[in-house]
Symmetry: C2
Subunit: 420 residues, 2 copies
């Protein structure tokens, strides 16, 4: 049997640095042409495998693959498609084996968050369950920073930096206008169940009393009267109040502040609307003039203000996935480990996938101040290194030069369409 | 009589580069210590003059004044306070003269937009109306780019760059997710009556068909059915659709898409909410999954991605105001003039303030495509130079280092409080 090809795909919500991981995978594979064949990228994640719809990355130039490192979003397309259990939909697994066999694929690199780790775990079990030899390695990615076992998740550092910088800038704006205009500014950020992104806004503060003054975490039940009293107190003390709210902030009974909305394929509620709801509460209770912002996709795609640490880690976990596969590993996720010592440094590790899939790491209570509206020094010490360094993309005509791949399709070998 | 002192103040919504103008004023004044005394900055705009609440900028270090060039928002505080007409509230004018006399102020530099130009004009008339000798020079500033006579307004280039970059990044995000998730993304940007900011999003597109696919301008009446048909057509063609909407987008009868809300001191409606309204329309009519973002203050305070051209111009108009005053001018606004020639270059000029005050420059119809949803090559040629160049602030610990002034107050000489 000739050397095996690799399948790589991106899954779940994309980030400013997931393409840096792709760059790491492809560059590392190209350095091991003696052991690994071509890297075929799935178009739109696992769906690309099921549809036999793949992109031949060997047709992309070295400079294009290098430029992925500074290009946000998912260059090969992402998806929100969850493989069902083996017992529920065996056809999907048989199809995967057909496609992998047809294209001599022996390595499976899946780049995503918790839901994607579940998909990667299921693929890794193909060898045991169905006798098809494959090594599946999960490459962590999620702006939510909620994967367990890894110290942090690639993608998070950059959204954290974006949110910290934006909070600092908008706060200066409010401070300069508050005498005769806006007194309360509310920024809504991502984070369904974990408040990591909202927590990062606190890095904007350089000393006690600096904004943001109030952070709302999904982990801390929201008490309206307490919140309103806090806003009033902050405005009296500082003249204005900056609030950063997680989209998943909720009442003690679990009801979302934003109200319930539609659900995605994983049963996740599609959120949005905490900021205007809070603004309306403030206006009603206190009469202050307010403004609010909802960063939405702007925050997770903001490669122009990416964290250099995050970019470096995203690239490194991609490379490591290839190295782990070549070392014979299967069914693991690459992890980032924080080394001991006063100065921040990190190294790479691994964890069995069955421990990772579908587990969410929320913020520890010790990371949140007693009143529930801020972060502790312990949290600050954890978060601060992750936003270090700037890694600006190249610009032309005032606009970042993000790469567009040629995306040459891999010739199909099966002539059977597959319904997702 | 000894040499005269200067009064400088910031007015209206602040920008990423208004402090660069302050830096230009103060540095130019320091270079002419033989002709001009101290620069006193009003705390919160004209209110600082009325309350005799001023900051002595001579107490700030040269490095702090230089650092204003890379610090967003209004370092001395801004305001939304409009002087009434001379005949309606003579007391305000008498108070201004009292304060100016007490502090030997002979130069008045006002840094703002159209409403502020009106205030500056009224102050410039103090000499004619009330015999107090003062030279009032207006320093243009507005993210809305709606001041007449000047080719463009300092503050606009940076928000334009932020919106173009953010549109590019968020569009890549949507493109990579659209197969199984979000198909329509809507970004709401500032612009009450003029669509300049929304227009700048088109600079994200490098070739025909690139996002943004639909831009909604306040200048073009919104027809719901036509908009929905256009969204559907774009999604069919490209798989997704990116919409950028001005906050002031409106129906043919002038009703705002966002609905009417509260009004500020100038009678401006406080807007916000076009994006969710459009998203709801799309969902209802076409059933597409959507996301939307509202950049709000993030866009006008985003000094981290400022246009180098904008920063340079903002600094230059500040310096020019001092030079014009020393040349004996009064009641003029500094303007930016685009020089003839294929390569973009600019110089400074002036226009009498009575021509400027309360006039808004909207987008010419020839800048908008026939279908009303995009910009023409003429508009692109006008806009593109304004976002050229990056001018990054210094960073420490991953966060931009924006300067906080010491703000030493000028000792009061009047003992009479003044009610605004």
């Amino acid at each position: 049997m000739s050397k095996k090809n690799a399948f790589y795909a991106q899954s779940g919500g994309v980030t400013a640095v997931i393409n840096a991981s792709a760059s790491g995978v492809i560059e590392a594979a190209r350095e091991h042409k003696d052991k690994i064949g071509k890297v075929y990228a799935g178009r739109n994640g696992i769906i690309g495998a099921l549809r036999e719809d793949m992109i031949d990355t060997s047709k992309e130039s070295a400079s294009a693959i290098a430029a992925l490192r500074h290009t946000p979003s998912g260059a090969f397309g992402s998806c929100r498609h969850k493989l069902q259990d083996f017992t529920e939909n065996k056809a999907e697994y048989e199809r995967l084996i057909d496609v992998f066999k047809a294209h001599n694929i022996g390595y499976f690199f899946y780049n995503g968050g918790g839901d994607s780790a579940d998909t990667c775990l299921k693929v890794s079990q193909l060898s045991k369950q169905m006798g098809y030899p494959i090594q599946a390695i999960h490459i962590p990615k999620t702006v939510d920073n909620d994967l367990p076992f890894t110290d942090n998740c690639p993608g998070f550092g950059s959204v954290a930096k974006y949110v910290a910088v934006s909070t600092k800038e908008a706060s200066l704006d409010v401070a300069s206008m508050c005498e005769t205009s806006t007194k309360v500014f509310i920024l809504e950020v991502m984070g369904r169940h974990a408040g990591w992104i909202a927590a990062a806004s606190a890095l904007a503060a350089e000393k006690a009393g600096d904004p943001p003054h109030i952070i709302l975490f999904p982990e801390i039940p929201f008490i309206r009267e307490d919140f309103i009293a806090k806003v009033e107190q902050v405005v009296k003390e500082h003249g204005y109040c900056v609030v950063v709210a997680s989209e998943g902030a909720q009442y003690p009974d679990g009801a979302l502040i934003s109200g319930s909305m539609s659900k995605d394929a994983f049963g996740h509620q599609q959120l949005g609307g905490v900021a205007p709801t809070l603004a309306s509460m403030v206006k009603h209770a206190l009469g202050y003039k307010y403004h609010w912002a909802l960063a939405d996709y702007l925050q997770r795609s903001a490669r122009h203000i990416a964290s250099a640490t995050d970019v470096e880690q995203a690239y490194a976990v991609g490379r490591a996935a290839v190295e782990y596969a070549l070392a014979g590993k299967n069914s693991v996720m690459v992890t980032i480990e924080r080394n001991k010592g006063e100065t921040y440094s990190w190294s790479l590790g691994e964890v069995p996938l069955e421990k990772v899939a579908n587990v969410e790491k929320k913020m520890a209570r010790s990371f949140i101040t007693r009143d529930g509206y801020g972060i502790t020094q312990k949290a600050r010490d954890y978060l601060a290194p992750l936003i270090q360094g700037e890694d600006y993309p190249p610009y032309k005509n005032g606009i970042p030069q993000y790469v567009q791949l040629t995306k040459v399709p891999v010739e199909k070998k099966l002539n059977t369409p597959f319904e997702i």
